[in-house]
């Protein structure tokens, strides 16, 4: 009897510790209008949830209990409860919300409105639009300094990174980068912003204080035509030492040493790799591969793709808890 009880306790404890370590990835599928839920221990899709039309940017609430979803063609933001997996709330966003970022205190969502050249500032608690900030044409990338003071928005057609003061909600300065900037990511110390340029084929490293480009990273992959190298999503490890850059139809993720700006490796993932996110423990990185309808799971330390998992059609955004 004692043995049985002990066995049950050990079993329960091992299950508890496994679930404490396990991570769940949420992926927006732009064409199938769904969110795929992926168990990153079992490396398989566990649920598929139908949401509003053309889900693209997604992000977690600070308590990690909710998922905010840019439903671009529905023209609003949906809030998915991650326990019930039901959409529990709809928030205004301005037209065609593509990508957004949550303030460090979780109170504001800054939303890029691709169609009307605005950044919408949304009060999440009250569910009302606080302000709309005019920026360049086709705003998309949204980066926020770790202290939440500076928002960097990229405008695709204007090819600029706009620095927005989140106290005054005004553009304080703009930096010209290469063609079609898609994504902005601050380094964890807040000193630099990395901006990818899809058509330019580069990542501009901008000094956040002086707003000058301190380095431009180019990419060369043997056997890949230059125009197929289109940098999009960028993620930097919490220790600030390594950056991962998704290279679109080159089907590769570049691993960059942030001290030297040298590309250490190009990992072959899936077709048209778009966005990236780390697991909370930073051991894994997940890429969304829009054209092959899958995600790739990368071992961060080993710099190795460990699995590709089929999701919905045109996977776009990814968030992991």
């Amino acid at each position: 009897m004692n043995m049985i009880i002990r066995g049950v306790i050990v079993g329960v404890l091992s299950l508890t510790s496994a679930s404490a370590l396990s991570s769940t990835a949420y992926v927006s599928n732009e064409k199938s209008n769904t969110i795929s839920v992926i168990d990153l221990d079992r490396l398989e899709v566990t649920h598929t949830i139908r949401v509003g039309a053309r889900p693209r940017g997604i992000t977690l609430s600070k308590d990690r209990k909710l998922l905010y979803i840019c439903a671009s063609d529905a023209g609003h933001i949906e809030v998915l409860d991650l326990d019930s997996l039901k959409v529990v709330r709809t928030l205004p966003s301005g037209p065609d919300p593509e990508l957004f970022i949550l303030s460090p205190d979780g109170r504001r969502l800054y939303v890029a409105n691709e169609d009307n050249n605005m950044v919408t500032v949304l009060d999440v608690g009250r569910g009302v639009i606080e302000s709309q900030i005019p920026v360049g044409v086709e705003p998309e990338g949204m980066g926020l300094s770790p202290d939440g003071k500076w928002l960097v928005n990229t405008s695709e057609t204007t090819s600029m990174a706009h620095f927005i003061d989140t106290d005054t909600l005004k553009v304080a300065g703009s930096v010209l980068v290469d063609n079609r900037p898609r994504f902005a990511e601050f380094t964890p110390d807040g000193k630099q912003v990395w901006v990818s340029a899809e058509v330019g084929g580069t990542v501009s490293v901008i000094d956040a204080q002086t707003r000058k480009i301190v380095h431009k990273i180019g990419f060369e992959i043997p056997g890949v035509r230059k125009e197929a190298i289109q940098p999009v999503g960028v993620r930097i490890t919490a220790d600030g030492k390594t950056a991962f850059v998704a290279l679109g139809p080159a089907n590769r993720v570049a691993v960059v040493d942030t001290a030297t700006y040298k590309v250490e490796r190009y990992l072959l993932v899936g077709q048209r790799v778009w966005q990236l996110d780390f697991t909370p423990d930073q051991k894994l990185l997940v890429s969304t591969n829009g054209a092959s309808n899958d995600i790739s799971v990368i071992d961060v330390e080993k710099r190795k793709v460990i699995k590709s998992i089929t999701v919905g059609e045109l996977p776009w955004g990814v968030a992991i808890r």
């Binding site: 056997g223 890949v224 197929a228 080159a250 089907n251 590769r252 072959l268 077709q271 092959s292």
Partner: protein
């Protein structure tokens, strides 16, 4: 029209266009009309498909191996499902003698060459399809201008007959044009599907690398 029927008809049209393109315009000029919303990628990049051993030497030698050549001939066609083709390649490599990495790279080189050639032919076919549509538009416009130039109050039977003839021609041409336009999304998807197939087969081969 049902989707399956659309695909079948699109395949038939492309087949005809592709075959004629082999004999005719082997190299369409750069910047030729591209009717699809998909961005035209004229060629595929080896490095976007493969991260195994350098496939350049294998590209020159894969035909020297009759077994590899026969395998490529069997698994490359689109009628063979990706899962079936992948299983066949796995079986082949499991039973193959010699360096598995070398053989897998040779198979990749063969598939890349075969599927790239087929994809390029499809692209040329789409460009010809687009040119035909442009010509049809011009024909409809010419007929419209000719019809409008006729005196609407003419009592001459020859003029009336000519009007009827031109309007019948316009009706048919417009119908053909619209039917073809409806097929365009399916046709435009073909190069993307080819690229996806090649990527999936390359990934299956990469699983066999040591």
């Amino acid at each position: 029209m049902k989707r399956a029927a659309q695909i079948a008809l699109a395949a038939l049209i492309l087949c005809g266009v592709v075959v004629s393109s082999w004999h005719g315009a082997l190299a369409q000029t750069k910047g030729a009309d591209w009717p699809c919303i998909q961005v035209l990628q004229p060629e595929l990049s080896v490095g976007a498909m493969w991260s195994g051993p350098d496939p350049a030497p294998a590209a020159a030698t894969w035909r020297d191996s009759p077994a590899v050549t026969e395998l490529v001939r069997r698994v490359a066609p689109r009628r063979v499902a990706v899962e079936e083709a992948s299983s066949e390649m796995h079986r082949f490599l499991a039973g193959a003698s010699g360096d598995r990495n070398v053989t897998a790279t040779q198979i990749f080189a063969g598939l890349f060459e075969s599927l790239s050639a087929e994809r390029s032919a499809i692209i040329r076919g789409i460009q010809r399809y687009s040119a035909r549509q442009a010509a049809l538009t011009e024909r409809i416009e010419t007929a419209r201008r000719a019809r409008d130039a006729l005196d609407p109050n003419a009592t001459d039977p020859k003029v009336r007959d000519r009007r009827v003839e031109l309007e019948a021609q316009m009706t048919w041409d417009t119908r053909i044009f619209e039917d073809r336009e409806r097929l365009l999304p399916v046709i435009c998807e073909q190069p993307v599907l080819m690229e996806r197939r090649l990527f999936a087969l390359a990934r299956a081969l990469a699983e066999e690398l040591n």
